[in-house]
Every structure is written in structure tokens, then in C-alpha cells.
């Protein structure tokens, strides 16, 4: 059951990511990215991170991707133009990415005996465990991030507002 869920949602993740790469219209890429993020939320649940699964759905698939689709529709973005200025990306990029993924897969699979096996419900981090660390040990970084968000909002408004 656990393996079936992992293969199902892991495959959905990879399929969505490949669809992001292959689609030419940005709105299709944005919708397939929502599929990737929602499947990642299920994988977080399988790894016992229940708060992060909820936050993934709310923050990523909810807030950030709504912002992306809003900007795509606001700018009326059409299909991607094919330009010829990027041959280097194809020549160097695709073999480089293939080397990267095979190297990382080799390292992780050769270290497989040292790594644990994941079972459902073996290790569940509840929201209270997470908040104990976040609000007691890491209170200062948490408050600093709220200032970061405030500055980001001000910057976004200043950048996107029309100049007179």
C-alpha cells in the first residue's frame, strides 16, 4: 500500500514536471506545476510531515500558483516563441542534466544500505512538535521572516505600480 502510494504520486510528480518542460503555453506549465506541488504534499504526508503537507497545499498550490496564473492572465502571455539564440542550452544543458541526475541517483542508491526504510506512521511530526521548536528555539528567525515578508510586499507594490 505504502509502495503503491509512493509510486503513484512520485510518478505523478515526474509526469507533471516533464509536462511543465514540454508544454509551450505558460498556463499549461502552471497547471502542471500545481499537480507536482499537490503530489509532493501527499509525499510529505507519507514521510510524516503533516503540517508541511497542509502548508504545501495552502502556500504553494494555493497562494503562489494563484499569483502565477494571475500574472499569466494579466499579461495575456501567449505561446512561447521559438528563438535561435539558445543552442548552447541544448548542447550543454541536456547532457549536463543527464549527468547530474545519473550521478545523484548513483550516489543515493549506493548509500541505500546506510539509509532508513520509511513506513507509514513510523515517525509523525505533529504540529505541536514543530511549533515547540519554531516558537521557543527559533523565535528570532521566525520574527525576522515576518519582516522579510513585509519588505517583500512593499517591494512588490513599489515595482508593480505604474510610474507617473
Amino acid at each position: 500500500m505504502y509502495l503503491v502510494l509512493f509510486i503513484l504520486f512520485g510518478g505523478l510528480c515526474v509526469a507533471g514536471a516533464l509536462n511543465l518542460l514540454l508544454q509551450r503555453h505558460p498556463i499549461n506549465s502552471a497547471l502542471s506545476l500545481i499537480v507536482v506541488m499537490s503530489s509532493l504534499a501527499v509525499l510529505y504526508l507519507l514521510l510524516g510531515a503533516e503540517f508541511l503537507a497542509a502548508a504545501q497545499v495552502i502556500v504553494y498550490s494555493g497562494a503562489i500558483m494563484v499569483l502565477f496564473t494571475f500574472v499569466i492572465m494579466l499579461l495575456n502571455a501567449g505561446s512561447e516563441e521559438r528563438t535561435h539564440g539558445s543552442h548552447a542550452a541544448y548542447i550543454v544543458g541536456i547532457p549536463g542534466v543527464a549527468i547530474l541526475v545519473s550521478l545523484l541517483a548513483f550516489i543515493f542508491l549506493s548509500a541505500r544500505t546506510h539509509l532508513a526504510q520509511a513506513r507509514l506512521g513510523d515517525y509523525v511530526v505533529s504540529t505541536s512538535d514543530l511549533s515547540k521548536i519554531l516558537f521557543r528555539d527559533l523565535l528570532l528567525p521566525f520574527e525576522v521572516t515576518s519582516i522579510l515578508i513585509l519588505i517583500a510586499i512593499l517591494g512588490a507594490v513599489a515595482l508593480a505600480s505604474k510610474e507617473h
Partner: protein
């Protein structure tokens, strides 16, 4: 049935590599930005997998902070994209090659 943590790490590596490939190949600035989000998500998955491996909550705290910074980055980045579109009326990254018009 069990799943080795290594499989989660391999899945994270595959997603990260697809993100790198999309970043290099895509020409639309919004899609390039979306592939950066995909890379951030892939790294988050490996953080959660390592938090499971060592039974530490701190790995999940890292993911929480990455989510916060990604939200701020998305807001500012999309505002920059809107400003670029106002100035150039194009979203193609090959045509955005001058600092000042």
C-alpha cells in the same frame, strides 16, 4: 511494505534535474521562474526525507523557512516580470538583454 529513503532522494534529484533543464531550455520568463519554484520544491522533498531519516524536526523547520522565502521571492519576482513587460512588451528572455532602454 516499506520504501527506502534513497528512493525519495532519487525522486528529489529527478525533479531538481527537470527543473534545471526547464530553466535552461524554456524561453518564457514566467516559465523560467516556475522552474525555479520546481527546484525549490525538489530540495524541500530531500529536506523532509532527511528529517525522517534522522528523526529530527529541524529538517522540517528548514522547509518551513524555504516556503516563506519562496513566497516572498514569488511576489517580488512576479512584480519584476510585470515591470519588464511594461517596459519591453515581451516575455521572451532572449529579447531582454539591455539594462536600460
Amino acid at each position: 511494505m516499506v520504501v527506502p529513503i534513497a528512493y525519495y532522494l532519487v525522486l528529489s534529484a529527478i525533479l531538481f534535474s527537470i527543473g534545471v533543464g526547464a530553466f535552461l531550455i524554456k524561453r518564457n520568463i514566467i516559465t523560467v521562474f516556475m522552474s525555479i519554484e520546481l527546484m525549490l520544491n525538489a530540495v524541500n522533498l530531500s529536506f523532509v526525507a532527511f528529517a525522517y531519516q534522522w528523526h529530527r524536526v529541524q529538517g522540517q523547520i528548514f522547509v518551513f523557512f524555504v516556503m516563506v522565502v519562496a513566497a516572498a521571492e514569488a511576489a517580488v519576482g512576479l512584480a519584476i516580470i510585470i515591470a519588464i513587460f511594461r517596459a519591453r512588451s515581451t516575455l521572451n528572455v532572449d529579447q531582454v538583454n539591455l539594462m536600460k532602454l
